[in-house]
Amino acid sequence: MKILVQGKTEGIILKSQNPINFLGTVDKKTGIISDKNHELFDKSIKNSILVFPSGVGSSVGAYTIYSIKSNNTAPLAMICEKADLTVATGCALANIPLVIIDNEKFSSLKTGQKILLDTKSHNPIMLL
């Protein structure tokens, strides 16, 4: 496990098996996934613990992450399987906790689970 952006928060998991291209897939104002081909289409990522494999696409997508944070429509935290610089720097700028986990842990997380994420704890991801 790698902690890319520190923080502590409690919330409900919203999980996607698809990667997310923040530029063009996520509505900057509402935090709703606007790409019809995405499995989270029409769902809001606001105040979720967003679990997805990684970010893809333009590095400008980092600005989208910053936008949703400014508009109070951002996830409480993000958990990815692979580190990418767009999501890493976007979360760092927006101060959204970001953790990278291995495949086994990634498979074990499910939409609807309530967790406590605390990057300073010995067990940073705790099921509640």
Partner: protein, 402 residues
């Protein structure tokens, strides 16, 4: 019980953090040097952890992307406006192109909102002490520091050029990591900043290459390479061809360095042949002819302008031809008389902006664009939503002028 024990051991192991910060860096990360420094260090730490750096090191020069309002939007504009109030860059910092050339923006159908937001972005960067170069070829218009100097270039073609031709060291930075480096004067010591040995060699097999061929070779290399690649079988290349290769590679992947030669014997070998070239061509070439021509992505330097003037002697374009170059090159070209020559031949000369992500080409007015730039082609197609007709410069002059 064993299960619990094992879980707790794993928890301890996974808590290992690689990146070591100095006391001053720790203090900045805690917010003791203000909110913006804290944000900048958060970005550096996230980048450092993501790339497995063990420390931060000083850099001498940052080159920023995230300038064009077309790409960063309202959130970017507001963010820059807000941080510029209290932030100054710590090292020499230069800037990518923006959306238009203020000298002739009135000739293009841009709305007032775009212009005012773009000028606000320009103003924010200038307030922070950034040199307003508005150029994607910093390696051609600024003096190159001494061999091995660590820099932080967010513009991909510039990062690749710096690593491959200018003996500088940079990773392929994101807009935010380069900005954080400009504000702190530091960058994570990882990946291409250290020694690198590619595990892949691309063998150039296409005969009689022109700049378009090199652009496609770069695009191919970016797709198959990881952080760096060896390239063998290259002959003498002129500046246009080198830039085309860097532009192509930066567009398609995460790879940010060419090493010239065969590499180690255990390197995997891949051929770039006519067939691979045709694949790239088919992916990017979507039209048989264009309504207008663009030259410059990366922007043209003085050498290329001089060569273009030579090629256009006694000829003029039959359709619109937009020529993108840095402002300083435009001024030099004006003094020499090149801009007069280009305008006589029907060129529209645009400084401070670039083909890439230009708001000056709109799919409502234009069906297809002819260009010799692979990088330009990719963004015209995917971002502007217009079709692209790929041709080498020689072919463009032959077909499109009289």
């Amino acid at each position: 019980m064993y299960g619990i024990l094992r879980t707790s051991i794993i928890s301890v192991i996974v808590k290992l953090v690689l990146l070591e910060l100095t006391r001053e860096e720790e203090s900045a990360l805690k917010g003791e040097q203000g909110e913006i420094m804290q944000m900048a260090y958060r970005i550096l730490v996230a980048t450092g952890e993501a790339t497995e750096a063990e420390k931060l090191i000083p850099i001498d020069w940052a080159h920023l992307s995230g300038v064009n309002y077309n790409t960063i939007g309202d959130a970017g504009e507001e963010f820059l406006s807000s941080i510029s109030k209290n932030t100054r860059v710590k090292v020499k910092t230069t800037l990518n192109p923006m959306g238009f050339d203020i000298d002739n923006v009135s000739n293009y159908n841009l709305d007032d909102n775009f212009i005012s937001k773009q000028l606000s972005i320009k103003n924010s960067y200038e307030t922070m002490g950034v040199t307003p170069s508005f150029s994607c070829i910093p390696y051609e218009i600024f003096d190159i520091p001494k061999k091995g100097t660590q820099v932080a270039f967010a513009e991909s073609n510039a990062a690749i050029h710096a690593n491959s031709y200018d003996n500088l060291k940079t990773n392929k930075e994101s807009a935010f990591s380069a900005l954080a480096s400009a504000i702190t004067g530091k960058s994570p010591y990882s990946s291409l900043r250290k020694e690198d040995s590619p595990n892949l060699t691309i063998r150039m097999k296409v005969k009689n290459p022109n700049e378009l061929t090199y652009g496609m070779l770069g695009f191919f290399a970016g797709k198959v390479g990881d952080t760096s690649v060896n390239i063998s079988g290259l002959g003498e290349m002129d500046k246009r061809q080198c830039k085309a290769m860097c532009g192509g590679m930066g567009t398609s992947g995460t790879c940010a360095k060419f090493l010239f030669g065969d590499g180690n014997s255990d390197c995997e070998k891949i051929d770039f042949d006519e067939k691979e070239m045709q694949n790239v061509h088919d992916e990017l070439n979507t039209a048989e002819k264009g309504d207008l021509i663009t030259l410059g992505s990366p922007q043209l330097g003085l050498e290329e302008i001089s060569d273009l003037v030579g090629k256009l002697k006694g000829r003029s374009f039959k359709k619109r031809c937009m020529v993108f170059l840095p402002r300083i090159v435009k001024e030099q070209a004006r003094k020499i008389g090149y801009t007069n020559e280009l305008e006589r031949a029907g060129c529209e000369i645009l400084s401070d902006c670039c083909t890439c992500l230009t708001p000056l080409i709109c799919k409502d007015d234009v069906d297809a664009v002819t260009t010799n730039s692979i990088k330009g082609a990719f963004y015209l197609k995917n971002s502007n939503g217009v079709n692209v007709n790929l041709k080498s410069l020689s072919q463009i002059v032959e077909d499109e002028t009289r």
